[in-house]
Symmetry: C2
Subunit: 151 residues, 2 copies
């Protein structure tokens, strides 16, 4: 179902700003940050405000239209929900990000329900650790993290 339709059906107004944010998220293949979305929006409408971008992302997230993921780089990233729900395995050595199907946490989820009566809601987790290629390779040069903070 289209994002426009979902927004409309929930009684939200289809403002140009919102549509531009939706467009930016959909046009990006990889996970996009709020700042990147803002840059794209500003190309069409230079008077746009970053807080509108944040508010729109919050809304789209609540409606289940976009998915928010924290890769541990100090900012959040988004992708459109049509790509499906999944978690991520983030290697802290080489920075590789692998997808992990949602079902991988089914076991843990059932365990928590049975043992504790707790209904866990795992939302697009980014699990940090060391990938298969990097395990055992000590002190290897890091080729660069896709989303690493620069400083």
């Amino acid at each position: 179902m289209s994002c426009h339709k979902v927004l409309k059906e929930h009684g939200y107004r289809l403002t140009p700003q919102r549509l531009m944010v939706v467009d930016a998220v959909h046009s990006m293949d990889r996970h996009i940050s709020a700042e990147e979305i803002f840059d794209r929006v500003r190309k069409s409408y230079p008077y746009a405000n970053i807080s509108t971008v944040y508010r729109t992302l919050e809304l789209l997230k609540e409606l289940g239209l976009v998915v928010e993921t924290d890769f541990g780089e100090g900012r959040l990233r988004y992708h459109h929900a049509e790509k499906g729900h999944h978690h991520h395995l983030v290697c802290r050595v080489c920075g590789e990000v692998a997808e992990l199907p949602e079902s991988a946490l089914d076991g843990l989820q059932e365990k928590l329900v049975h043992e504790r009566g707790f209904e866990a809601e795992f939302k697009h987790l980014a699990i940090s650790g060391v990938c298969s290629k990097c395990r055992g390779k000590v002190r290897k040069v890091r080729p660069g993290h896709p989303y690493r903070r620069s400083h």
Copy 2:
């Protein structure tokens, strides 16, 4: 082992500011925030700076002396490592926070190693969901979240 000793053994200086931060974390039974630590430190030394608190917490965390947990309230909280490593089950309805032993994630960890060769490092996770008491109780009044953001 005492925090003073560990700091010293690693070649770090035992400055009054550091000792006050260590003291604040140790004197608090529940999970304490950086701001709360800062308030305590300022009582002994009014010229203290919040960035020193953050830098000290970062250091203590790296040395494994304190544990950092994100309860999803917009700020991080700390407790001293002697309390042991564990995860948390945070109920998004009533706000109750229950402890979950580290071993609860052993199954998932092994699964990731076997299936993906990925060595996950789960660090004091706060798992959001609905607790046993709140499951089924729809639209119950929330008695208050221990660490909920006020706004």
